[in-house]
Amino acid sequence: MIQILFFAFIWPPIKVDKFVLDNGLTVLVYEDHFAPVVSAQIHYRVGAYNEPKGLTGISHLLEHMAFKGTKKHGPKVYDRVIHEAGGEENGFTSTHVTAYFANLNRDRYPLELEFEADRMVNLLLDPKEFEPEKHVVMEERRLNDNDPYGAFGEEFDLLTYLYHPYRNPVVGFMSDLERITLADVAAWYKKHYNPANAIVVIAGDVKAEAARNLVNKLFGKLKGVPVGDDIFAEPPQSGERRFEFRKDVRMPAVGIQYHTVPVLAPDAYALNLIGMILSQGRSSRFQREVVRGKNLAINIYAYSSTAKYGGTFYIFGMPQAGVDVKTLEAEIERQLELLKTEKVGAEELDKAKCLVLAQTVYRQDSPTGIGFTVANWEISTGDWQNINRFPEEIQKVTADDIVRVAQKYFIRDNRTVGFLLPSEKSEEK
């Protein structure tokens, strides 16, 4: 055991070359020469967090419009050219990020960066393309509504955050999607897409020096204007919130969500380990005791999410057929109480740490994944290198820390409890 921890711990940290152009563009280069492929990515520091009431979903809608052509290349060119070059391309939007990427043969990745430099300033935003694309996004909104668990999770954030923009769903509210105009999207684009608000990541079979020259050539002349986030604070929660959420389902579910801390906060590491102890792997407490031991749940997991401006600890469980959601809720509460009253044994704590540390090795299998991860650390903490401090901090967590942190956050007044239940219509069937 000690040997393994040691082994994972001496495994070299992730190495990234970082440089910042004069216009403020941050560039992260991660070299991995295993396969002759490169993931070229651009991450803008804008997402659902930045969206005011009435404009929720606008970052994601803009991401869709970014695939509808530029003044230079016209609609439908981008995907076609990337495919013709053998690439796989996509975009995604999250709470703090709108990202675009393509994975290509190593000699072809400049193609993606060339397109991204163009898309940063030259989007066509054609009215003819806007209405059909808005309908596509509305269908995506409906897909979320029809996925009972996705919709349940969205409801959770609405009740956990009454004021803070972490309540915003990335895909947006339907009435906002109906309201948003092309002029709104154009203004959003103008404000948020520029070199000073972006991070370019190049991960794979490249040399940092060559990548640097290329980025300079493609992006160096564009003008950078720093944007920055407005900061909001959720008023402290003072009392448990409970809700019922009804859908056309046969199997109910229960969720419990606590407010915790942002990324890099000292307690973030113990919270992460509590998540591992409760639900990572077949030997976790939830799997061993709640699923196999007592037969109370099918799916059950606990997850600590520590973001740029705040965090939550979320537990979700689906009772086995014939088990009441309230019974499962009581068992989850019992599991959390145990963490507060009984110290985690040395072996169990070591196992949780080991699982975290082994992940740091496993995830290096994918340069694309490392690219996303370092960009995420750069955006949420201001410095990608925090990724390498993470294993050290995890190592330092003690059994006393686990008890202290459980006692501090897992309290009734700090939580929201929700039940996903069959609608009256589906109960009649």
Partner: protein, 440 residues
Amino acid sequence: MRKLLILFTLALLARAVEIRKDTLANGLLVLSIEEHKLPEVLVRFMIPAGSSFDPAGREGLANLTNQMLIRGTKNYSGDALADAIESVGGDLSPFCDEDNAGLSGRVLTPDLERLIKLIKECLIYPGFDSTKLAPLKREIVSNIKAAEDDPYEVGSIAFRQMAFGADPYRHDPSGYDSTVNKVNVSDVRDFYRFLYGPEKSFVVCVGDFVHDSLITMLRREFGDWPAARRPLPDFPQYPLPEPPVGRIIQRDISQAYIFLGYPGPALRAADWNAARLMNYILGGSGLTSRISNSIREEQGLAYDARSSFYRFANGGLFIAAVQTKKEMANQAIQSLIKEIGLIKDDVTADEIAWAKKYFIGHFPLTYDTYGELTAVAAQIQIENLGFDYFERYENRINGLSFDQIRAAAQKYLHPGSFYLVIVGDIKPEDIKIDGIRWLD
């Protein structure tokens, strides 16, 4: 555009990968790829013991047997097994699809022997304790019920039942709640005895090991794995429906989940490359496909619209799928039928040339991680692609003729005889298809 084109003249970089092939005396085939980028090893045991071997009335037995492997062995309880692998940061998971079942694991380099020994415990000395079977059955039955709340799952399962019509592929590997409930420990023991053995199984190992030591270790641990007594199931022919047959599954949701298709080619079909290249153009290339271009880009009807082949050892399915708001269901279905009909008679040389460039250029991206190498090695064995697969790939794709691709379209596309499943708040009269026969 001119500047972009220069980039295409550069040479391709398909990397040859050496897959070493060893066979143990009892027939167990070992495929190994030694790589030292990361201090980890991936191991996957593949045993032809998937759900297509389920006996009638015991659908779900293959999956149950597979999951019971890690719920206790002669020397380890289920909890002890989980602790043994996870205490070193490793993972060991069972899997079961239509054709194969097995175990896959991942560990840091120093723990390879531990992983191999634990897999041996599970595969050669399973406990099959009856007190562990009842809770597992409850879990699986609960999962089957939970799948009924996901409209996509509901539609997929209903579609395969209709399109295959008969087993062994009619049922999902999970089985039905009624048949899972009937399984007892002697069913599990029999299934294991008949199907779990080395002679038709293989193991893939990828990562940080030394080949000779790996083979020595596998010989030592798996050399005495006894042969299975293997019965073969009967595989029926899966016919096309004439006229079209439809089924609507009512759900109180805002969209219609649409599945349209019929039986398609099996694994190892000689014209598979032609078929998949044709489907790439039709509905397999994301936003650039004909189906997506019509339904998503031009009509704004759906977030996702695509067509796919699902292939098994002795059968397969072709499915075109789309989710759209319920008022537009008929329009989306008409568009799917139209696109399937159009390409059948009119695939163009330009589209083929473009698709070939993608297939060849994209190839190096399909095996650029340990995880993908493990999957590709298994695929090479299952599909009999040959161990010179990496070297020959480009020529195989370039060698496809216009006529071969057109022939695949003619053979595998049937715009007039299909099965249709719709999940949503839809009535048969909403859908305008001549002569369609609706099932309850």
